[in-house]
Amino acid sequence: MLGYILRRVAGFAPVLFVIVSLSFFMMHLAPGGPFDQERALPDQVRANIEARYHLDEPLWRQYLRYLGDVARGDLGPSFRYPDRSVNELLSLGFPVSLTLGLCALGVALALGGAAGILAGLRRNAFVDYLTMSFALFGVSVPNFVLGPILMLVFALGLGWLPVAGWGSWRHLILPSVTLGTFYAAYVARLTRAGMLEVIGQDFIRTARAKGLREATVILRHALPGAILPVVTYLGPASAAVLTGSVVVETIFSIPGIGRYFVGSALNRDYTMVLGTAVFYSVLLLVFNLIVDVLYAYLDPRVQVR
């Protein structure tokens, strides 16, 4: 197993190399540069800045320089925020994005799990249709619509929660729900399907025949089997929640990594774009690895070589 993990980690290097190279050249191919602005800079001032960031060098040399820096773990200075390095901004933003992501996953599991169990137990009943309609709604409504609606209701209308910002648990609720709803909907459908499959099986009938309480039958005996598809979905979902919070972070003014991703691309903040791309890539690679390893544990049919 350890050998397998090491081999996979070694395999990250070429993948990252390709990602960095592609991103680097695509970024530089895009029209405009980091120091184009409404108020054009005098030529000499522009030349001074470009010299400072080595942008006056031929592209291949900038590329080699960047590869060398990345290999050492240095993602360079941010062009947009010259007081800070990309590493610093990412390390400040990541714990925030992680907190938000975990809370959103919690929302997804709690809401989706409960809805899925209910729907699975009352198949084709009103509750089933109701929860599944909500699930459909959750999958279909984009978070840039849901977020502002939640704000209108819970912050402006009822005054229970703050509109935006970061700093207390009250700031976490609306963004977590906004981000988690999409995944909750998925979890609900998966749980329902799992529940339907398990509930008809012999060991459940046995459990009931032994006279166990219905709650025990469901939670102790049926649920573990029913949520197996959910567990396999968690890996990609975690990665997606972490890398997919761009819109939610912007709407709710949350100081995570997502805030930098779009902004830096639009601003042609080369180092920041590449930095976030590298960071997200590593994150996705690691999560994929974790999922594959977990598979091996959970499902004896999967063997790791």
Binding site: D83, M151, G165, G167, S168, I251
Partner: protein, 528 residues
């Protein structure tokens, strides 16, 4: 000893109040905390590095230049300089510094200014706003590396408390410039000790009426009153919180729930609802929204076509029904309200004249008018404005113009390389003088980007910049230049003067509307 039930309730209430912040705290403690929606994360806190308005809102309170600005009419007031004298020819300014201190207790000296200005002009620094110091004698040459001896540049510390500045040309608005962040003093010892980290909390040394408490990127930046400041007696606010909310809809909602006291923008889609509220304010801004013509490309290389396009747009309707925030329709480029500047009477909406001009240019009723594109960058306001202009041209002239929407950097690159026919644009002045609008259009100017060139125009701008000392004559020269720009040649067609449209909490006092939307915090207080 067990707590009694009442104690428990009190304790719990306090805990809840503390953990939830905001509304439960006692009003007394929160009374002088001013919360500003600053709309973006400041790019830096280094006065030599920054270029933006959001940064100005912070830095103009954290640091202080030779002069400060009057909160009502923005005229220069004493700052670090207690007084100054100006030579007869308007070239030499001698500033007498007051007895002021940095936040670490060191005195603010004339040498701190010399160090700061050298730093900005030094080519190695790559300061984006170095041109703010090109007014100083030899400043530009030093920045361009033509001279390397800084003692030749026109700034000299005569002693610790006297600073002598020699200008290249008599500059009427130089005392306005000295209140601008690029010209602030900076603490050499702190910069040398910490490098680029010198602006971080705990390391920063500043000299303004407020000092930095905390700064978490994309979350908030907090200033508090600096009790050591020379004018601390005037300062009422205890704390100021800057929120970097990017999303203008969110920022607006934060204002409505009381999470902020001032938001300097209102979403275009909410403008009607916002204006019906008593907290809403709309004031003229030192900025012009206009359309650029690329005069090197047909059909807009023909001045008759440009004129026809300009007089075919009904700017009154545009501002009344499309932009709707109270923008001021204009076909002049310099906004009204400049001290001592009369402005020009420019072309108005005239359908008959438009048709006639177009016919003269060979396109009767728009027949045979070539394919033309109008370029704009992604933005709700620009979309609706360009659509309205497109519609007016179609109805009034019978010509069709395609709208081309590109993202910001592509838009800038295409304008810069003259890869467009017509584009929307905007210009915000740096200081209150017509020159900040008119010197754009000199031949080859970095912001001209129309391919337009006019010898007489260049000459007039050159005269106003340096050769005319009498203020009245100078304004007349600028006025003649503007007439060439917007009446005779029209490389551009202005549409309206921008307005500041924002929301201000009703308990905010000492906040005065002005043309730059600048509100020095030392004059602001919060009432009941």
């Amino acid at each position: 000893m067990a707590m009694r039930a009442r104690d428990w309730i009190v304790t719990l209430t306090v805990l809840v109040a503390v953990s939830t912040g905001g509304p439960f705290l006692t009003p007394g403690a929160e009374a002088q905390v001013f919360r500003i929606n600053n709309m973006v994360e400041p790019e830096s806190l280094d006065p030599g590095v920054v270029t933006g308005v959001p940064e100005h809102r912070i830095l103009s309170n954290l640091f202080e230049g030779l002069t400060t600005t009057d909160p009502k009419d923005l005229s220069p007031r004493p700052g670090m300089a207690a007084s100054w004298t100006v030579s007869k020819d308007g070239l030499v300014y001698t500033f007498k510094l007051r007895n002021a201190r940095w936040t670490d207790g060191k005195p603010v000296t004339a040498h701190d200014f010399v160090y700061a200005w050298e730093r900005v002009l030094n080519p190695k620094m790559g300061a984006k706003y170095a041109q703010q110091l090109f007014y100083v004698k030899n400043g530009e040459d030093y920045n361009k590396g033509r001279i390397t001896d800084f003692s030749q540049v026109g700034v000299k510390a005569l002693n610790d408390s006297s600073l002598r500045v020699t200008l290249r040309c008599p500059t009427a608005y130089f005392l306005d410039l000295t209140s601008f962040y690029t010209l602030y003093p900076v603490p050499r010892w702190a910069i040398e000790a910490h490098g680029k980290d010198w602006v971080k909390p705990g390391k920063i040394v500043s000299n303004g009426p407020f000092r930095l408490v905390s700064w978490v990127p994309q979350r908030e930046l907090v200033l508090e009153k600096n009790p050591q400041h020379w004018d601390a007696g005037r300062v009422k606010l205890q704390r100021v919180v800057f929120l970097p909310t990017d999303d203008v809809n969110t920022a607006y909602k934060q204002f409505l729930t009381g999470e902020s006291d001032w938001v300097p923008q209102v979403p275009t889609s909410q403008i009607d609802a916002a204006r019906s509220r008593p907290e809403s304010y709309v004031t003229p801004y030192l900025g012009t929204y206009y359309i650029r013509f690329n005069v090197t490309k047909p059909p807009v290389n023909d001045v008759r076509v440009r004129k026809a396009l300009s007089v075919a747009v009904d700017r009154e309707s545009l501002t009344k029904f499309v932009t709707k925030a109270g923008e001021i329709p204009t076909s002049a480029f310099v906004p009204a309200g400049m001290r001592g500047y009369e402005g020009v009477k420019s072309l108005g909406f005239d359908m008959a004249a438009a048709k006639k001009l177009l016919t003269e240019a060979g396109y009767q009723d728009g027949k045979g008018f070539p394919k033309v594109e109008l370029l704009y960058n992604t933005n709700e306001l620009h979309r609706v404005v360009t659509q309205a202009v497109q519609q007016m041209w179609k109805e009034n002239l019978g010509i069709h113009v395609d709208l081309v929407n590109v993202e910001w950097k592509v838009y800038l690159a295409r304008q810069n390389s003259l890869d467009y026919q017509i584009s929307r644009a905007g210009w915000i002045g740096d200081y209150v003088d017509p020159n900040t609008f008119l010197d754009l259009w000199v031949t080859g100017g970095g912001n001209n980007q129309t391919g337009w060139s006019n010898e007489r125009y260049d000459d007039l701008i050159g005269q106003a910049a340096c050769r005319i000392v009498n203020p009245k004559d100078r304004m007349r020269a600028l006025q003649e230049a503007e007439k060439i720009l917007v009446v005779d040649d029209l490389p551009i067609m202005p549409l309206f003067t921008y307005v500041n449209k924002g929301m201000l909490g009703r308990r905010v006092k000492g906040w005065y509307p002005n043309i730059l939307d600048m509100h020095p915090l030392k004059y602001i207080s919060l009432g009941r």
